[in-house]
């Protein structure tokens, strides 16, 4: 029942669907390239130019100069709307001096099902690699957060919707193991439609694999903070994203198990306003806090001080 559909003509996964209207039209060039190119059926929203110097906020309509938006980590300076950003932008926001060591960069999916729909999965993979410069939908890294060694796995939504297959599962599991080996805290920043349909059951079992690894991290008394960003749904929410010692989310992020469209089709009624948004989840007890992008680094650093003691 948990179905996911991303964009018309784009790529898909299981877990939840994300409506096109929720995706910011002016998503930075590098990250959204696959989306525009894969959208071939004439939808206006797929044709928005992103090369310009100005961005329009989807939430309040403000026109923001690109340089200002970059300086504000892609948060609207008028209404606080959080634009989607890529995995390396996430790392930049957390690691001191914007430096880190990337881990497990060479892992690639072997297409276990030899999955073919309208296009072979391996071609989708190659296209996603070419567009993002990544091998799959997560970047793992080791670096310093306010002087403390931390492992961060950041998901890349523009790589097949941030979906989780064997590579994402393995990289996050290795990230957990690296944290244990280095006696370091772990942060996973999620942005994902869920399990990757094209890897079938192989993608589903990654949920159990990562959850199992997290039991060992807990056994080592090391903290794990899950940062949920827009969107985090399906098998990613239903595994590591909900298993943090702390679960925090960006404002306005879509977070859930089933996607809103699937729920609407099942229950045949309109969903309440704000349903499955970060603020809804915190009210229902699923998150510790909604933390704006600009405050996240300080938040996690403070939490690590509590968990592990201050840096000497």
């Amino acid at each position: 029942m948990d179905v996911a559909e991303w964009y018309h003509g784009g790529v898909y996964c299981c877990g939840a669907e994300t409506r096109i209207g929720f995706v910011h039209k002016d998503f930075p060039e590098s990250s959204m390239a696959w989306f525009r190119k894969d959208s071939g059926d004439g939808n206006d929203q797929s044709k928005v130019r992103t090369e310009g110097l100005w961005f329009k906020c989807d939430s309040c309509g403000a026109i923001i100069w690109k340089k200002d938006l970059e300086a504000a980590a892609y948060v609207c300076n008028r209404c606080g709307f959080h634009f989607k950003i890529g995995a390396r932008d996430r790392l930049r926001a957390f690691f001191d001096n914007e430096t880190w060591e990337e881990l497990d960069t060479s892992l690639r999916s072997t297409d276990p099902l030899q999955f073919v729909d309208q296009k072979p999965y391996h071609e989708r993979l190659e296209a996603a690699m070419a567009k993002t410069g990544l091998q799959d939908a997560v970047v793992s890294a080791e670096g310093q957060v306010l002087g403390r060694t931390v492992i961060i796995c950041a998901m890349e939504y523009s790589f097949i919707g941030g979906s989780m297959g064997a590579v994402v599962g393995e990289k996050i599991t290795r990230g957990v193991e690296r944290a244990i080996g280095k006696n370091a805290p772990l942060i996973v920043i999620s942005a994902s439609g869920g399990a990757r349909m094209m890897e079938g059951m192989v993608s589903l079992v990654q949920m159990a694999k990562i959850a199992s690894a997290l039991t060992r991290l807990a056994g080592a008394k090391l903290p794990y903070i899950s940062v949920l960003t827009d969107p985090t749904t399906g098998g990613v929410t239903a595994s590591f994203a909900m298993l943090g010692d702390l679960n925090i989310a960006e404002p306005g992020a879509l977070i859930g198990f089933a996607g809103p469209r699937v729920i609407e089709q099942t229950i045949r009624q309109k969903l309440p306003k704000g349903f499955q948004r970060s603020e809804f989840l915190v009210e229902h007890g699923m998150l510790d806090a909604v933390v704006p992008r600009a405050d996240q680094k300080a938040f996690v650093a403070r939490a690590f001080d509590f968990f592990c003691g201050p840096i000497q």
Binding site: V3, R108, G200, V202, M207, A211, S212, A238, L243
Partner: protein
């Protein structure tokens, strides 16, 4: 039984060649959902003695989409959990078609922890279209409930045998599927997404579910080849629906054998073995 009487009526109406018999993966999907296929309650009543149901998650409600209880399997005390779809209309409504809500998963978790506390093995029978996608389920943390079960099952220090007896619907199935052994019935299917949903997404048309079923590699033999399951349990005749008693006997044999294989294994080793199994599961990647 009423159901079996109806079944024999169906048997008296052989396929006369008007409609071609479904083939391949899609035929398995239809068998897994066959209206006369035995459900979890039917296996429970045939395989176990003195099943005693326990209810409620102690947090919010009792969810009949997941049943839990203790029973004896040929002399062994076991905790049984499983999704029940319900057979007639009234029962289907009551069991929500086998689609659990968070309280169902949390009841299962409570039952599993209880089993662990008293050193009893766990038998989990999977048969669900998926976790329920609804407003209430989301409000109460469907994702958290599933995630927590994966985590808790990974840590259990008692034997856990999971069997997909019908439909294994994605995360809603996996939430009771982290076992030392994971089995599937010959005509069971286990998938990350239903073929209809996959077809609707990929081909824009649920009518292509047959193609999707093939592509998803969701049949028992495919899953065995991918290493996703450890064993395929034979079904009688043309499928479990043709002989419930025999289907339950074959399943009981398989569960008993898998439990016996773990006799005397200490809790830490059971946990470690389960960890290693899932750690290496689905390692379909290269390092270039």
């Amino acid at each position: 039984m009423v159901t079996q009487a109806r079944m024999s009526e169906q048997e008296q109406q052989p396929n006369d060649g008007m409609e071609p018999e479904p083939q391949g993966a899609w035929a398995r999907v239809l068998l897994a959902r066959h209206p006369e296929r035995p459900h979890v309650v039917d296996y429970i009543s045939r395989m176990f003695e003195s099943f005693t149901e326990i209810r409620g998650d102690r947090l919010f409600a009792d969810d009949p989409a997941i049943m839990a209880g203790f029973a004896s399997l040929r002399g062994r005390q076991v905790m049984v959990i499983g999704q029940e779809k319900g057979r007639d209309t009234k029962a289907r409504m009551r069991h929500n078609f086998g689609m659990p809500k968070p309280e169902g998963y949390r009841k299962a978790m409570r039952a599993m922890r209880m089993a662990e506390k008293f050193g009893r093995p766990i038998v989990a029978l999977i048969d669900t279209p998926g976790a329920y996608p609804g407003i209430d389920a989301e409000e109460r943390g469907q994702a958290e409930a599933i995630a927590r079960n994966l985590y808790v099952m990974a840590e259990l220090t008692v034997p856990v045998i999971c069997v997909c007896v019908g439909e294994g619907g994605s995360g809603g199935a996996l939430a009771i599927g982290v076992g030392n052994a994971v089995l599937i019935l010959e005509n069971g299917v286990y998938s990350v997404i239903s073929p209809e949903s996959c077809a609707a997404i990929v081909w824009r048309d649920a009518a292509n579910a047959e193609l999707a079923a093939e592509a998803l590699k969701l049949t028992a033999p495919d899953l065995l080849e991918l290493g996703m399951v450890d064993e395929v349990v034979d079904e009688p005749g043309d499928g479990a629906h043709t002989d419930w008693d025999e289907a339950a006997r074959l399943l009981g044999d398989a569960i008993e054998r898998n439990l016996a294989a773990l006799d005397g294994v200490d809790g830490e080793s059971l946990r470690e073995a389960r960890y290693q199994k899932f750690r290496s599961l689905g390692s379909f990647f290269t390092e270039i």
